[in-house]
């Protein structure tokens, strides 16, 4: 008998296109390993040795991880008050959400260009400060790590806002009411009730922004200049200028391993900080 509870048949085919897309993705990742480990003499760690033996590359890795760590934490700290504001103003939330979403969805090359226009030696900020008589020669705001950190933090902040806000919106209003009726002030309620409950969102934001800054290329090249190399810019150079896919793949795997380590560390910190929900 064919009833509503019977498992519908013939639907498995509908999964095929999605499976093909994922197979392509997994195949691409498999090729990454193949290129990185396979030389004409067979399996080898030669490409990894080429990378790990060079002291200047160590500096690139260190800079990549440090910038990603600073950027992801800075964007979480700066995004939190924005998420809090949107959470507290339900009437205005939709309009204010547009102010967050549009900068998030606008191409990051455009946003980076905006920072070039603002922070450049003859940019808006330097010219204004000079006009106001505050400075005499332009401040070096770009073509250094500072420029990269400012640009990346701004590029990634909207995502942190969204991750934090989506967790804040899940908080039961009655918890706050209970805390306040028990005599806690607004600040104490925030510190002891809202903050611990919103930390998972903050950590989701940090994880994704950390991953994104680890793999960033455009912002580091345009705001950091040629000498301020990061892993992403190094990979891009190997592919586009040196056509060395094996070395690029080895770089990409190093980047993946470092990113995974970063995520594991974040998970550990999160587990230590976030109170377990008692169910």
């Amino acid at each position: 008998m064919r009833g509503a509870t019977a498992t519908p048949r013939g639907l498995g085919w509908l999964l095929l296109p999605a499976v093909l897309v994922l197979a392509l993705f997994l195949g691409a990742v498999a090729l990454l390993f193949l290129h990185a480990f396979w030389t004409k003499d067979g399996f080898s760690l030669a490409y990894f040795k080429q990378i790990l033996d060079r002291a200047d590359y160590h500096e690139v890795f260190l800079r990549t991880v440090s910038i990603a760590a600073i950027v992801s934490i800075a964007s979480a700290l700066l995004a939190y008050p924005i998420a809090w504001l949107l959470w507290r103003l339900p009437k205005w939330r939709n309009l204010l959400l547009v102010v967050v979403l549009v900068p998030w969805l606008v191409s990051l090359v455009v946003r980076t260009y905006g920072w070039l226009v603002i922070l450049g030696p003859k940019g808006f900020l330097n010219e204004t400060l000079r006009w106001a008589g505050v400075i005499e020669s332009p401040l070096p705001l770009i073509f250094n790590d500072l420029g990269v950190v400012i640009g990346l933090t701004h590029v990634l902040m909207p995502f942190s806002v969204i991750a934090t806000l989506s967790v804040l919106l899940q908080i039961d209003n009655r918890l706050e009411e209970a805390s306040e009726s028990l005599g806690a002030g607004a600040l104490e309620t925030w510190r002891r009730v809202v903050l611990p409950l919103s930390l998972p969102g903050v950590f989701t934001g940090i994880s994704i922004t950390f991953l994104t800054s680890m793999g960033a290329i455009v912002t580091p090249i345009l705001l950091g200049g040629i000498r301020q190399k990061m892993a992403g810019t190094q990979i891009y150079q190997e592919v586009v200028y040196n056509f060395n896919m094996s070395k690029a793949s080895a770089w990409a795997l190093c980047l993946l391993i470092l990113s995974a380590l970063g995520l594991v560390l974040l998970r550990t910190v999160e587990a230590a900080l976030v109170p377990k929900a008692d169910k």
Binding site: L105, V117, I118, I217
Partner: protein, 266 residues
């Protein structure tokens, strides 16, 4: 009691919020300045940079390429996501959680690594530097963004409606196209617009895949910044901001923006 403190917090947060659109506002203002840069007091206004952009075939071509690629990607990825999510939703396989983890996995890949991986695979099939290659890459990158809103919309459909239709003799095709498709339209429209805008604005992965024949607008902007800091860039950038704003407003009008901050009904 704590009113002044809360007011101060709100003012500070609002200032931070308006820091987000600051660079695009500066670009927009620059694009209308005849002098090509911002200054106090503001100089003469002009549309000369827009006119210059509109007469340069490089900008027109890459703009049309980006629009075309984004449209094809949006329709393709939404169809793939709807078919897959619908099958998963109806069949509820035991491996669903694992499968969805794989669907979401491109999100956890740093873009530089994703770029190299896709170059490797597209070079094998000879699609490097072609529009087809870019479309395929964008479909891989946008699948997670299309999958989630559609899955959420499917889960919201009252299962009794499907049961009733089935008891009344509707076949699977009828249930899928006559019931699930229209009832999940909020998820489908969100997936279409969201994947369109991600594809239209994507640069980090795409810059690995463009070639002398095909380039997208964001990659063209990137290349142009490096060789020439002409204010034409401000005009072009403002056009991409306008496209993005248009899509976000459309989404807000048609569906609402709650999706971006809503959690999956679990």
């Amino acid at each position: 009691m704590n009113a002044p403190l809360i007011k101060l917090g709100r003012a500070g947060s609002l200032a931070l919020l308006f820091f987000l659109p600051a660079p695009i506002v500066v670009i927009g203002a620059t694009s209308f300045a005849a002098a090509g840069y911002l200054r106090f007091p503001p100089g003469e206004l002009s549309l000369r940079w827009y006119a210059e952009a509109a007469t340069d075939p490089r900008w027109i071509d890459s703009f049309l390429t980006s629009l075309g690629i984004a449209a094809v990607v949006a329709v393709t990825v939404t169809a793939i996501a709807f078919a897959g999510a619908y099958a998963c939703h109806r069949l509820k396989p035991r491996w669903l959680a694992t499968f969805e983890l794989v669907v979401m996995s491109p999100l956890f890949f740093p873009h530089a690594a994703l770029g190299v991986a896709l170059v490797n695979v597209l070079a094998l099939s000879g699609h490097l530097g072609t529009a087809t290659g870019i479309v395929v890459a964008h479909v891989v990158c946008t699948l997670p963004f299309a999958w989630r809103p559609i899955m959420v919309a499917l889960q919201r459909i009252d299962s009794e409606i499907v049961e009733a239709a089935s008891l009344l003799g509707a076949d699977e095709r009828r249930i899928a196209l006559g019931i699930a498709l229209p009832l999940a339209r909020s998820g489908i429209v969100t997936a279409l617009l969201f994947s369109f805008i991600i594809s239209f604005d994507e640069v980090t992965v795409t810059m690995f895949l463009t070639g002398p024949q095909v380039t997208t607008l964001p990659v063209q902007i990137y290349a142009f910044i490096q060789e020439n800091a002409s204010p034409v860039l401000a005009a072009i950038s403002t056009v991409t901001v306008a496209v993005t704003l248009l899509v976000v407003m459309l989404l807000e009008r048609l569906i609402g923006l709650e999706f971006f901050v809503a959690h999956d009904p679990a």
